[in-house]
Assembly symmetry: C2
């Protein structure tokens, strides 16, 4: 089976590697992509078919795995290529956006499966789980069987996998943003050291996070700006306040420029949080 | 030394008990207070001087320890009684509100000390810390020396103690609100069970919190509605987004009616979160 990946970022190539381990041909379309993406795709043995049009013609399955902001565009491109196979959206998007994408691709003749990845890039056996939902969810399991990626079929609800991803990320990334927001506030108020000392009296987890390396967050903050907005929309759709993640989105926006640094510290994070004027405060 | 407590709630009586242990006379003013407060004050051996006016005349020190929403009113009452002793505001309020209160009482001739309590009511040795800041902060230490309450003088910044309290509570209570917000969203989206299962794969702390008794939160949520607003204001004053705690305030608002229940479960919390329409969404 030929499976197309739009686009092979660090998560995408790990999914493609699991598809290859399952005996499938993992393809991608290089047109318009960066040299970094090409390098990653080549290293992981993906087959380049040049264009999205070609990808849609040659593959019976497409996996959309890309930043939240371009997910709808990707689905439109695929729909525009008259793709009539199985379309898996595995992105961190709200159930509402997932529904919109399902509508776009099914109207063009494809079948839609909703997905959500929990965990980092799948380079360790069963540490990363691809949740699947919708009528055709079961069909996707074989795409990755035998690879590092674990799969879990949720239920027939068309967008349950996206909902689960949103709820899970809401805590992990939401609390990271909150922690840094607090450190920025404490710094501005002249009590960061005292706060740190009080946290050390606790179980030490928070104190350690507050002084440990920040690169795990700052290298990915640019991508989480939109993911937090998606979570905020998910809360609002459920009738709950979206303010937590609208604020988290703003925190990550201020940290997004630190992506350029290879190692970052709490000091740099606090500085970045305080030197920028607030934009789109929630 | 006679120290007046406005008003002896569950935290207040524990502070009064520490003042008594330090050899002071802990006083209160019963006029207009509930029978529950009277019972608590009597049980803990507080001296009733009837009115706030009397309290201000007979005491050389006043401790304001009350819900955030009435802190300014309390300071105005004390200022209106021409109190010229030492006024300690030990409440969970923003630095801005603390500054406003400092202005009110010092204008009337009193000296102001800013305080912030971290921990529950002080019934265990040194488990609860009263942070103190401002020029006269050191004078307050003797009020509680020998009691269960620990004190810690921060620095001369007039409102550092309030700032520290806000930053500390921002995480503890903010993450509680976030957790329940997520559970409500997951329930509305039909993925609460799947989320719980995924959380169980982690260190189990979150999973345990999500199914454990909710009474620790629901019995105090009514009081945290305003405290979260104070934290939101503190963030905004620091130039950081206040949305986390505006959302947390809304979560606690929806849970405030559960105060009447002696034991509450996650099921009741989720139901309360989802059955109320959103008000003042952030």
């Amino acid at each position: 089976m030929r499976i197309g990946f739009l686009h092979p970022g660090s998560m995408g190539v790990s999914l493609a590697a699991s598809a290859k381990a399952a005996g499938h041909d993992a393809c991608w379309a290089s047109q318009g992509r960066s040299s970094q993406t090409r390098e990653r795709a080549d290293e992981n043995g993906l087959t380049d078919v040049d264009t999205v049009q070609q990808l849609c013609e040659q593959c019976s399955a497409i996996v959309s795995i890309c930043p939240p902001a371009i997910t709808v565009d990707v689905s439109r491109q695929v729909a525009g290529s008259n793709f009539d196979g199985l379309y898996l959206d595995a992105n961190a998007i709200s159930p509402q956006r997932a529904k919109a994408i399902a509508g776009i691709v099914t109207k063009a003749g494809a079948r839609y499966v909703d997905g959500g990845v929990i965990g980092g890039p799948a380079w360790t056996q069963d540490k990363t789980v691809l949740y699947l939902s919708g009528t055709h969810a079961g069909d996707v399991v074989d795409w990755f069987a035998g690879g590092m990626l674990a799969t879990s079929v949720l239920n027939a609800d068309p967008v349950a996998a996206s909902a689960l991803k949103m709820c899970y990320a809401a805590y992990t990334k939401g609390t990271s943003a909150l922690l840094y927001g607090i450190l920025g506030t404490a710094e501005a108020m002249g009590v960061r050291q005292a706060l740190q000392k009080q946290w050390e009296e606790g179980d030490g987890v928070l104190a350690a996070k507050a002084t440990g390396p920040a690169s795990g967050v700052t290298s990915r903050a640019w991508r989480w700006i939109d993911e937090m907005q998606e979570i905020s929309c998910t809360f609002e759709e459920a009738g709950l306040p979206g303010g937590f993640h609208a604020a988290a989105s703003e925190i990550f926006r201020r940290l997004s420029d630190l992506r350029k640094e290879s190692e970052t510290t709490t000091e740099q994070v606090v500085e970045a949080l305080l030197c920028e004027p607030s934009e789109g405060r929630s």
